[in-house]
């Protein structure tokens, strides 16, 4: 790959990164929102590298003749290997596929339907829930709190109304799953967090909903690989949130 193409490629990568971080906001489909500043910084460095390279090398070309150019092209480090062409793939992916966040396709691929592991509880343990209006919490938080009594920590859920947000997946019988993907760093480490919703008809698959309800004991309490249920008192359709991960 010649120098001019390398400069062009660098600018394109930087532009693609800036596009997903600043313009479209698609980057939250791929990585945690906290990465935004780092991505913008990296994009700026890459664009700068391409633009400065382009500026210096075309300035040289204006004054030099062809022989000097040939010598420069062959000088160490000028040419990149052909694998560098692969860097166009992510650019094409960002613009031509523009994939959405991971959803029910990935979540349903777990062949044996075992419940997801409870996320690690906070160091100081779960704080008691306040009385009063229903408490908004993440599905990870809910599953973690529901699981806490099994490892000898205080139960915090019974008697409290909570609000969970996620998308709909079909479950056994008339029950259905409320699901949300949880990522630690990027979508490659995504884990599906799921609760089983009882007492409410299933909305359309993949719809985003807010479920208000109370925790109920799971069907069997012997193993931790059991889905924690929520006894729904109301289910409300909501628009898809900008960041679909938790």
């Amino acid at each position: 790959m010649r120098k001019a193409t390398q400069n062009l490629l660098l600018v394109m990568i930087g532009v693609a990164l800036l596009h997903i971080t600043v313009i479209s906001g698609d980057y939250v489909n791929y990585v945690r929102p906290a990465f935004q500043i780092m991505l913008i910084g990296a994009a700026a460095v890459i664009v700068l590298l391409g633009v400065v390279g382009f500026w210096i090398e075309t300035r040289d070309l204006d004054h030099d003749d062809g022989d000097r150019r040939a010598e420069q092209e062959n000088h160490h480090g000028a040419r990149a290997p052909r694998t560098a062409w692969l860097l166009f793939l992510p650019i094409l992916g960002i613009f031509l596929v523009a994939p959405p966040a991971l959803g029910s396709f990935t979540a349903s691929r777990a062949a044996t339907r075992t419940a997801p592991a409870a996320p690690p509880p906070p160091q100081e343990g779960y704080a008691p829930l306040p009385d009063g209006p229903p408490v908004v919490m993440s599905i990870s938080d809910y599953v973690g709190r529901a699981y806490a009594p099994q490892i000898g920590r205080p139960a915090t859920l019974p008697g409290h109304q909570v609000v969970l947000t996620g998308f709909v997946m079909p479950g056994p019988g008339s029950a259905w799953y409320l699901t949300r993907m949880r990522i630690a760093c990027c979508a490659a480490d995504a884990i599906a967090m799921q609760v089983i919703v009882r007492g409410a008809p299933m909305p359309p698959k993949d719809a985003w909903v807010q479920v208000t309800g109370m925790w109920g004991p799971p069907a069997t309490t012997t193993t931790r690989t059991v889905f924690q249920p929520i006894m729904a008192s109301s289910v409300r359709r909501i628009p898809k949130p900008p960041n679909t991960y938790e």
Partner: protein, 351 residues
């Protein structure tokens, strides 16, 4: 059609012929009017951006194939997440080779490789980044005369034992500080053992040390810029290969298939070690993935966290690109075997 010319001439076939076609497009395409490269570049960038924007508007909404979308999401996630670390790594590597005088390294590290290896391994604790950053940095160290064995110990330890990764491990395993200790001890042990084995048995011709001519004065910034671009192109292409492979496996391997093997004692350690290679999760996130693999024993989780930052698909691609395939076919199996063995032993003693 002036805007088409540069696209055609920049195709890989033309590139392979190299050298003889450096004046592109040939002057006789537009007799009497030498092409201005800057005007041409504006045309190229403009037309590519136009194609991409049109594609985003008219192609992307129709590509609703769910396996393709899931694959693309994971693929882009790995590339996008790794890129800032790669940029940081190649910048640091370029700075090491252009701004730090070679004499510095001979003073900073013990002369004997056997003594330099543990020092370099322990020095890995101060580079806050994941594995994508450490490969170019190790290449830069070698180019500046650091013993390859010591640079390799640094390469292995840096992504595993730096403070960011250790804190993430502590958060992922609350109330279990022994996991953090086990990870630190096992990773550093593997890095030092691999370095010593390379010092004892490694041959110079297996390893392609990146060539970095030393320059001085005002040309340093130019050398810095060219080195950084070269490394970014080189490693970036391979990062894409690794990301594509890992995305394919994430989408293709059913998680239930892995969980079925969790109960078998020795097999479970091997299964999670292999899973770490295939998933290619960043070392700053792998503790969260490991702690979610609850059917598995703590030792198997430890193996996942020790192997992952040292051997995975994107690292295999990056190491082959930086140090050559003859290095990769020897060093990667060595590291993998050491990582599995040391994790199993550490697990027996500490967990």
């Amino acid at each position: 059609m002036t805007d088409r010319a540069p696209i055609r001439t920049a195709s890989p076939n033309v590139d392979a012929r190299a050298g003889d076609e450096d004046v592109l497009p040939p002057y006789d395409w537009a007799p009497g009017r030498p092409p201005n490269p800057r005007v041409r570049a504006v045309w190229v960038v403009g037309s590519i951006v136009a194609v991409l924007v049109l594609g985003r508007l008219y192609i992307a909404p129709h590509l609703q194939i769910r396996p393709l979308q899931a694959w693309s999401t994971v693929f882009l996630a790995i590339c996008v997440q790794a890129l800032p670390f790669l940029v940081f790594g190649v910048a640091l590597s370029a700075a090491i080779t252009t701004f730090v005088p070679p004499a510095f390294w001979t003073r900073a590290l013990p002369r004997r490789p056997a003594a330099a290896v543990p020092v370099a391994g322990a020095a890995g604790a101060v580079l806050p980044g994941c594995e994508c950053a450490s490969v170019p940095v190790a290449g830069g160290l070698m180019a500046r005369g650091v013993t390859p064995a010591a640079a390799l110990a640094f390469l292995l330890s840096a992504p595993a034992i730096n403070p960011v990764v250790l804190v993430a491990t502590g958060v992922a395993f609350p109330g279990r500080p022994e996991m953090v200790v086990a990870r630190f001890v096992a990773s550093l042990t593997v890095a030092v053992l691999a370095g010593w084995l390379w010092a004892a048995f490694g041959r110079g011709e297996w390893l392609r040390v990146p060539a970095r001519p030393h320059v001085a004065g005002a040309r340093r910034w130019d050398a810095f810029r060219q080195t950084m671009r070269h490394d970014l192109m080189h490693a970036g292409g391979f990062l894409v290969v690794g990301g594509a492979a890992a995305a394919t496996l994430t989408v293709a391997v059913p998680p239930g298939w892995v969980a079925a093997l969790a109960g078998v004692p020795i097999v479970s350690v091997l299964v999670l070690a292999l899973l770490a290679v295939l998933l290619s999760v960043c070392s700053e996130a792998d503790a969260f993935v490991a702690s979610s693999l609850t059917p598995f024993s703590s030792t198997a989780m430890l193996a996942f966290m020790v192997v992952g930052p040292m051997v995975d698909l994107k690292l295999i691609a990056l190491q082959s690109a930086t140090f050559g395939p003859r290095f990769a076919v020897r060093f990667i199996p060595l590291t993998f075997a050491l990582a599995v063995g040391v994790s199993a032993l550490t697990g027996l003693v500490l967990l």
